[in-house]
């Protein structure tokens, strides 16, 4: 059972799942950590990324890397309208945001049902070839996906650690009031954080749609994943989202390959619930007593 090809497959799957999950979770946790909104519309925004990729790559036949980055940028830019119309009315109001953004989620999903249609589509793979590493054969598109996700995450990490704006965003995610007192322009930071969050979410959604299937309702699972990963890592903690995403991605890959997807789901849910009961602020979060 634990042979090299199987283990390699588990590893690669784990990496690509982790990549998707970390991207989604980072977006979710940025919105929670800085603006204190629980983004119930997160899944549908990811779904929009999927449709964007479908058009850029599937229909317009742009080169894959260009298409996916463009998908992220398009959705993030278009979402700035939503930020102005909807999101900013719920900043720092956690409970209102839950129900209000749930409404947004429903509105987005059913608008897509009208505009596109209910039926599932698939997005063609980025590359058709297989790559041989040692004695194992890996689909090249999986490597491409992992590569792109890693690049985006590195860029995000670089931005957050090395630029002035990144520092401001990090300060805001620690404590928005102190950041404000130190002269940070909250409105700008909110918009910047929002843009970054949706950019990563849309790319994650694009990859997800490509790996599984694209439909207006595909966002439900990514939303659940975002919740789980962020709870695991600590709501509002950026490193926590990364850690949670990796743990969950590898956990799922390992468990579902060897024990089936049902077992994988049960174990992960069970672990998260146990964590919430014992240590609700997650692995890397801060307890708010």
């Amino acid at each position: 059972m634990f042979s090299a090809p199987v283990l390699t497959q588990v590893l690669i799957n784990g990496l690509s799942l982790s990549a998707i999950y970390v991207l989604i979770a980072l977006g979710f946790t940025l919105l929670f950590g800085i603006m204190k909104v629980v983004n119930f519309a997160h899944g549908s925004l990811a779904m929009l990324g999927g449709y964007a990729l479908h058009y850029y790559f599937g229909e317009f036949k742009l080169p894959y890397v260009v298409a996916i980055l463009l998908a992220g940028l398009t959705v993030a830019s278009a979402s700035m309208v939503l930020e102005w119309l909807v999101f900013r009315r719920f900043y720092q109001k956690m409970f209102q945001s839950m129900i209000g953004l749930l409404g947004l989620d429903i509105a987005i999903v059913y608008t897509c049902v009208l505009v596109f249609d209910v039926y599932e589509r698939s997005i063609p793979a980025a590359l058709d070839s297989m790559v041989a590493i040692g004695s194992v054969s890996i689909p090249a598109d999986k490597l491409m996906i992992i590569g792109i996700a890693v690049v985006v995450l590195l860029a995000f990490w670089g931005f957050m650690s090395l630029t002035r704006y990144g520092l401001a965003v990090r300060a805001a995610s620690e404590d928005i009031e102190i950041a404000e007192a130190q002269g940070v322009n909250t409105r700008r930071i909110y918009q910047l954080a929002f843009f970054l969050a949706i950019f990563m979410t849309a790319i994650a959604g694009a990859i997800y749609a490509q790996t599984y299937a694209l439909s207006p309702f595909m966002g439900e699972r990514p939303l659940m994943v975002a919740f789980i990963v962020v709870i695991l890592g600590g709501m509002g903690s950026i490193p926590g989202a990364a850690l949670g995403g990796v743990l969950f991605g590898f956990g799922e890959s390992f468990l579902s390959t060897f024990y089936g997807s049902a077992a994988s789901t049960f174990v992960s849910f069970g672990v998260v619930i146990a964590l919430l009961v014992v240590r609700p602020w997650g692995l890397l979060g801060k307890p708010e007593r």
């Binding site: 629980v38 909807v86 009315r89 719920f90 956690m94 409970f95 209102q96 945001s97 839950m98 129900i99 209000g100 953004l101 749930l102 409404g103 947004l104 989620d105 429903i106 509105a107 987005i108 999903v109 059913y110 608008t111 049902v113 009208l114 439900e220 659940m224 919740f227 789980i228 709870i231 709501m235 049902a262 789901t265 049960f266 849910f269 069970g270 998260v272 619930i273 919430l276 009961v277 609700p280």
Partner: protein
């Protein structure tokens, strides 16, 4: 959670005689009107919607009790499912009479709530929401995966009527009416009693309330068990009405619907879930044919309501009434 102004103070419903009489009078009047309705509007479609609204009112009201203690549960439809399946299985596999099945369904949900409650009710607001969100999903997954017992995605079929011959829209309407009226009477009376006072106190200032001698955890668990048992009852009734249940009826969307009924109608007033249930069930049925547009409008309505009136439609009505009186 709400930001109502400080003057005048929110009137506390006491068990004083005149207020109680007024509520009772309104309740009796409404019940009579609803009982007579089938003779006025003898239309199977209206009776079916009516029954659906009345059943959902049970769910919305039972969730309301839990919300009044300060916990928003996103797993309520999951408990409905537990009740539905326990009821259906006991009738189909154990051969008990349907009425006993109803009791078993309610008891099963209540029992699960009793096991889970003491653990999750210690969590504060947002963590409780998250845990119940996941709990609801776990219940649904168990219903789907445990095929040998629950029939998996195919569900359970050939569920009989509640009583031989009670399968017409009219009969179902009256069953739902009786159940809803009983549950509403229980909930309203409970909220008006000293227990209701303690529930509000726990929600508004838990530490102070605990130091006044109120056994907070015991109260929260008790109400949680009661609320889940009542929605388990709704599940059982649903099983007898539709003669078929599957996991899709008891998923995240349905739990969210029950929460929305409360939030939209007014979270901390018992009229809220009643109004919310009517709106959320009646409107889609009446606007059939334009499902997508209707859902989009619904989503937008949620955004608008949460952004402007966090105390729901009831809060809006109160505000308007105050403006009129000035």
């Amino acid at each position: 959670m709400s930001n109502t102004s400080l003057n005048p103070p929110v009137a506390r419903q006491t068990a004083a005689a005149p207020r109680g009489m007024k509520v009772l009078a309104i309740g009796v009047l409404v019940t009579v009107i609803l009982a007579v309705l089938p003779h006025v509007a003898d239309n199977a479609f209206i009776l079916a919607i009516g029954a659906l609204i009345l059943l959902n009112m049970i769910g919305a009201l039972s969730l309301h009790l839990i919300i009044r203690t300060g916990h928003i549960s996103f797993s309520h439809a999951g408990f409905m499912g537990v009740g539905a399946y326990a009821c259906a299985l006991s009738v189909l596999k154990l051969g008990v009479s349907p009425f006993v099945g109803l009791a078993i369904g309610a008891a099963a949900s209540g029992l699960l709530a009793l096991v889970v409650g003491p653990i999750v009710l210690r969590l504060t607001g947002k963590y409780f929401v998250l845990v119940t969100f996941l709990l609801g999903e776990i219940i649904r997954l168990v219903l789907v995966e445990w095929e040998s017992v629950t029939g998996g995605s195919n569900g359970l079929s050939s569920i009989p009527d509640l009583h031989a011959g009670w399968n017409s829209p009219l009969a179902q309407y009256y069953i739902a009416l009786v159940a809803a009226v009983l549950v509403a009477a229980l909930c309203i009376r409970l909220l008006m009693s000293e227990t209701g006072r303690a529930m509000d106190a726990v929600r508004e200032a838990q530490r102070v309330t605990e130091c006044a001698g109120v056994p907070v955890i015991r109260l929260k668990v008790g109400i949680f068990v009661l609320g889940c048992a009542l929605v388990g009852l709704q599940g059982g009734l649903l099983a007898f009405f539709m003669h078929y249940i599957d996991p899709t009826t008891f998923g995240m969307t349905d739990s969210l619907n029950l929460v929305v009924m409360n939030v939209l109608g007014g979270m901390y007033n018992v009229v809220g879930p009643i109004v919310g249930a009517v709106f959320l069930v009646a409107l889609p049925e009446l606007l059939r044919g334009y499902v997508e547009i209707q859902r989009i409008l619904f989503g937008v309505a949620l955004i608008v309501v949460m952004a402007s009136f966090s105390s729901g439609l009831v809060g809006l009505a109160t505000m308007l009434r105050r403006k009129v009186h000035q």
